[in-house]
Structures are given as structure tokens and as C-alpha cells.
């Protein structure tokens, strides 16, 4: 393909955005630790964007680690697998952090499990051969990815095989692997990039082969020099380029990463595919390598458990289906001044009331904030200072959109492009009047959509 395809033409930054204190020092130096296998894992049948799966196992059925628990014929979906060997129990319902109630299949852990070392070796250790990737059949790769139940691990959890399946109308020239991890506190991707750069590079090349992309770029924020170093070393001799991005929230957002690393602008309401790019997360890349080269499903992921409110911050390799309580307990529990437990990062994550929630394929971290961290002055009137406009990475006018949402003035909301908002929260982060801008816009977007579909 063309030479420009692999050439990074971005400036490494995007316009506006914010620079919150990253607080990654709490856990960035801690190697990934394998969570002891919990006595029971509850695996949700829906961990992704798309159709939920139907259970394919019966109650009390003994399953080996990696066995399919639920699957569906729907294209935009991904099967779920058990991370442990054990016995299937009666399915129940759990509430995910985003408030969705989903069916879960509990698996009682059997006596025979892999040791921590063996598990690590199986997941990320060993050799990840790069030769021969060019000869793989793209369709086979996509099939393997689908079978492994791989979904985006950056947060949105979109089924990866859908992204990589070739579409003749929209050719892909670049695979962009997102290692920005721009949310404060989170260090899961960072540790993975340092400790397992080889599968990431291998996965990147496999994804590029599947999508037919000539170029592959791994974008990492420049506050993670060790990660960039490790990846560059692993990528030596391959066409994979490791690009340093400026440290800027929300660099991890697709639109921002693509803009910063490739200089391309994804149209509003469009996908990276519209500009010839497929974006996957670093952990997803590693999972792809494992699925294609080792035929193993996605059953574990790295989760940062961090924040000033947790006793011992850790980066944990946890099985999907382990409960938040298991992880928090392993990290020494909450400190007395803990005030808020967040699934995901503090900017876009969801706060939790109960901790029985299972870890899913998209869980990037558990951040426990103290009362001091979440302190917020009382809301006052908007004085139109324009801070929110100064930081909106999408060049919107959040103050106006929040006003429109509050008064349900959809004409005004449309005039100011409410639907374009990606809810990154920069506006609410900076607002001097403590107005819940992004919260209002989120609500407004949902209501506007509802009323428009109604009429």
C-alpha cells in the first residue's frame, strides 16, 4: 500500500483537552500480580456492545478453564468463556457498574487450577513469533478472534472481530493500537506494555493482517517512557511504529488518538473506519495474539486497583467474573477515609454502591477516592467564563448544551450539536461554578434521543 499509510502524520497532540494530575505514581511501579483464584466467578453473558449471549452450559456441568459458557449467532457479539475450571451453578442476575442488569453464570472453582506462574506464562509469557503472520488467512484470524470472545478492553467493549472484518467499501490502511491510558490513576495498560510488549506487537501485526492494513502504530502518552521503550524494543524489525503522544486527557479517546497520531479527523457520528483506521487497545492486541497463536479465549485481564482510598494499590491479573470485592479484599480493603469506589477511571468511570459486581472484559481499573479527592464546592450560577469551551476536545460549547439539556430545549441543543458530545467530562472537570455539565449533557442526549425516536 501507499507509503503514507504507515507514516504517522499527526502532531502528537489534539486541540484543547485538560491536564489532570495523573496520580499514576500510586501503582505505576507495581508489577502485575496474579489474583489468587476466587472460590467462585460469576461471568456475565453480556460484557460487550451488542447482542447478549445465550448460555450453552447446563447447571452443575463441569467445565474446563476456557470453555464457552454462552454464545450467540448474532454478528455483533462475542462469546464468553469460563476463566476457571469448575462447576456451573444456577444463573443469576448482576448489576454492572453502568447500571445494566445482566444475566450471569456463576462457576464454582474446582480444586485444580493453574498456578500463578503457569497462568502468566500461558497468557503473556513465552514466545510470540512474528514470522508467518503475513501468511495468515485474514478470514481465519477474524474467526479465531470471534471464537476467543475478544472485545475492546479500553472500555467500550466493542467486539473486535467486527472491527477487523474486511469491508471492501471501507479499506483500512492503518491499525492504531491505543496505549495512551489517559485516565488518571490507571496503570493496567502501562504495566502490560512494560511486562508483555511482545504479544502486543504480535497482536498488532495480526490485526493489521486481518484488516489488510499496511501501517500499524502504537500510540502511547509521553508520560510512559518505559512503556514506549519496551514496545520499541519489541517492535524492532517490524513495520510497527511506536509513537509518543502528548500527555493530555482524553488522549485515549478514539477521535483524539487518531487525530494526534495520524492527523486524521473522524467525522462526527462516524467511526475510525471512515478514515481508514481501526483502533484497538493494547490489551486487546495481546489477546488477539494469544487467540490466534495459542487458540486461547479472553478470560483474564489486568485491572489496576488504586487510589488513595485503598490500603495497598496493586495491578492485578484477574479472571473475568471475579467480584470487585475479591479484588478490593486482596488489596487490603478500603481505608477509613475512602469516599467513592469507581469502576474505570475517575473521569469517565462509574461509581459503585455495592462490590459484588463482576470484573468484565472491559474493566480497566478500580479507583478508590478519598473524601478529599471528591470534594466539590457547591454549584453556583454559570458566569459564562468559557472554561468549558476552552477544554472541550470536540470544540463544543458545553455550558450552552448543559443549559439546553436542563431546560429540555432540543432546538438549542441541536443548534449547538449536543449529539456530538463524547462525554469525556473535561467540561465538568474544569467548571469553576461546579456545574455538572457532562452529567446534564449525558442526560440531555439520552432524553433528546428518546423524544426524537418517539415522534
Amino acid at each position: 500500500m501507499s507509503a503514507t499509510a504507515s507514516e504517522s502524520t499527526g502532531t502528537g497532540r489534539f486541540a484543547r483537552g485538560v491536564h489532570p494530575a495523573d496520580r499514576k505514581a500510586l501503582a505505576r511501579h507495581l508489577p502485575i500480580e496474579v489474583l489468587p483464584t476466587p472460590p467462585v466467578v460469576t461471568v456475565p453473558v453480556l460484557q460487550h456492545t451488542g447482542a447478549p449471549c445465550k448460555p450453552v452450559v447446563a447447571m452443575k456441568q463441569e467445565v474446563p478453564a476456557g470453555a464457552v459458557l454462552a454464545d450467540t449467532d448474532a454478528f455483533v457479539s462475542a462469546p464468553v468463556h469460563t476463566p476457571v475450571a469448575g462447576a456451573v451453578q444456577k444463573e443469576t442476575v448482576a448489576t454492572l457498574p453502568n447500571g445494566r442488569h445482566v444475566k450471569v453464570i456463576p462457576v464454582k472453582t474446582g480444586p485444580e487450577q493453574l498456578s500463578a506462574e503457569a497462568l502468566w506464562a500461558d497468557l503473556y509469557g513465552g514466545e510470540w513469533p512474528l514470522e508467518g503472520i503475513g501468511a495468515l488467512d485474514p478470514a481465519e484470524i477474524v474467526k479465531a478472534i470471534r471464537a476467543a470472545g475478544i472485545v475492546g478492553q479500553g472500555g467500550a467493549a466493542f467486539p473486535t472481530h467486527v472491527k477487523l472484518a474486511r469491508n471492501p467499501k471501507k479499506p483500512v490502511d492503518t491499525i492504531l493500537v491505543n496505549g495512551c491510558e489517559c485516565e488518571p490513576y490507571l496503570t493496567a495498560d502501562y504495566r502490560l506494555m512494560i511486562e508483555a510488549p511482545e504479544p502486543i506487537v504480535a497482536g498488532t501485526l495480526i490485526a493489521a493482517r486481518a484488516a489488510g492494513a499496511a501501517g500499524a502504530v502504537i500510540a502511547v502518552e509521553d508520560n510512559k517512557p518505559e512503556a514506549i521503550e519496551a514496545l520499541r524494543k519489541a517492535a524492532t524489525g517490524t513495520p510497527v511504529k511506536v509513537a509518543a503522544m502528548s500527555t493530555q486527557y482524553p488522549m485515549g479517546g478514539e477521535k483524539q488518538t487518531v487525530r494526534a497520531s495520524l492527523g486524521r479527523t473522524i467525522p462526527t457520528g462516524g467511526l475510525p473506519l471512515d478514515v481508514g483506521v481501526v483502533v484497538i487497545n493494547v490489551a486487546t492486541a495481546a489477546a488477539i495474539a494469544r487467540a490466534v497463536q495459542r487458540g486461547k479465549p479472553l478470560t483474564h485481564r489486568v485491572v489496576s486497583v488504586t487510589g488513595a482510598g485503598i490500603a495497598n494499590p496493586k495491578n492485578l491479573l484477574a479472571p473475568v467474573g471475579a467480584s470487585y470485592a475479591d479484588l478490593i479484599a486482596h488489596c487490603g480493603g478500603l481505608k477509613p477515609d475512602a469516599a467513592r469506589v469507581i469502576a474505570g477511571g475517575p473521569m469517565m468511570g462509574f461509581s459503585l454502591g455495592a462490590f459484588q459486581t463482576p470484573v468484565t472484559k472491559g474493566t480497566s481499573g478500580i479507583v478508590v477516592l478519598t473524601a478529599e479527592d471528591v470534594k466539590r464546592s457547591a454549584e453556583t450560577s454559570c458566569v459564562r467564563c468559557g472554561r468549558c469551551v476552552d477544554v472541550c476536545p470536540l470544540n463544543l460549547v458545553p455550558s450552552r448544551l448543559a443549559l439546553a439539556s436542563r431546560h429540555k430545549d432540543w432546538t438549542l441543543a441541536k443548534r449547538y450539536h449536543l449529539a456530538a458530545c463524547m462525554e469525556c467530562g473535561c467540561c465538568a472537570y474544569v467548571c469553576p461554578a461546579a456545574i455538572p455539565l457532562v452529567q446534564l449533557m449525558r442526560m440531555g442526549k439520552a432524553q433528546m434521543q428518546k423524544e426524537m425516536t418517539k415522534s
Binding site: L403, A404, R406, H407, D409
Partner: protein, 247 residues
Amino acid sequence: MDYLATILLLAISTALINNMVFHFFVGNCPFIGVSRKLDTAFGMGAAVTFVTTIAALLSWLITWAVLAPGAPLTTWVWHLIRPDAKGVVDLSILNYVVYIFVIAWAVQLVEMYVRKFFPALYKAFGVFLPLITTNCVILFVCLEIMKHVPSAGDVPDPWGLDKALIYAFCAGLGFLIAIVIMAGMREEIEHCDVPKPLQGPGITLIMAGILSLAFLGFTGMDSNLAKILKPAPTPAPEIKAAPPPAS
């Protein structure tokens, strides 16, 4: 050049300095009633400008030819009937009645025209078109033109048809400017916590008051501009600049 300057002065003076709404208070009913949305306000303003200009054309012609004291057409007809008649024929008592009918007719005309050629615009402000008949801007402009129609001998500042039309157009333009600015502001305060009793006309009038305060800033612009654009017709050569104050 001198002519252009005169026209420019008339235009600025009419549209900005002596703005119909903020200075003469005319057109306040639609100004308050139809200024809720920017689009309709613009439509209303444009319609008023258009109708005003047409009504001005008609009323100038009728006043000049028929109504004013000593109007040529009337005089001619009168002489046909009474060849020996003397003195000036004066039909100006009929001015008001005639103007209001001219305006009503012009509105009808515009309504038909807009309905036929600009259905979208008609939809936007069609309801307001009949209301334009009672828009005082138009009658006010006709009355102002009446004072300046040159048929009557001793008119201090006679206007030809050109000046009458410029005046009418700029009067409408002034109304358009006022109502568009007001509509913008009213859209803006739609979500403001305006005290209940003041919502609607109350706050609109207060904003109009502040705007008319602001427009006072243009006062005197015409006389200063006149000095720059056209030096006094009878310059007094002996006048020297006053010596600087002894300080």
C-alpha cells in the same frame, strides 16, 4: 457627492439615531409581540421594511399629486370644473383616511406576493402580515413624508420621491435592526431566571429601555457627519477658531 452625503445622513439618522422603536416609540406592539424568535422577528422586520417602502411610494405620489395644498392633479381637475376658480385647493383633511387605506392595500399586495413566491416565508410570518396594517411605523412614515411633500409652497425641508423612499426604507431598516436585536436577546433570556411578574412584555420593555440608552450614544452623529461630509453652505469666512482657553 453632496447628494450622496445628504442621502447617507438621512439614512443614518433615520435608521440609527432616530430609530423608529427606540426614539419615536412606533412599532412597539409588534416589537414586543413578535420578537420571541429570531427567524420570525427577521421576517416581520423585512415585511415591515418592504411594506413601508411601498406605502411610502404610494402615499408620496398621492399626497404630491392629490392631497397636498396646491397639488397639481387636484388643481387641474378643479380648474376643469371651475375654470374661473382661484386660490389653493386643499384636500389635506383627507390625509389620514387615505394613508390608512393605502397602507391596507399595500399590505394586501405584499401578502399576496409573499404567499405566491415565498411560501416558506409566508408560513413563518403570514399570520403577522395582516397585523402590519396596524403597525404604526408605516403610518408614521407616511405622516412624516406628508410634512415634507413639496407641493405646498412653504415646506422647510422638501423631500423628493427619492428622499421619501430612502427615509421609508431606512425607517423600516431601523425597525428591523431593533426587532432582530431584541429577538436575539429574548432567545438568550429564555432560560434565565427572570422574575415572574416581569416575564414577557416587562423584561422586553426593560431591555428596550437599556437599548434605547445605548442608541443615545449615536446622538449628534448626523450633525458631526454633516460637518465632515458637506461643509456649511454659507461658510462664514471671518470665523476663526476660538483661542484656546486661558488655562
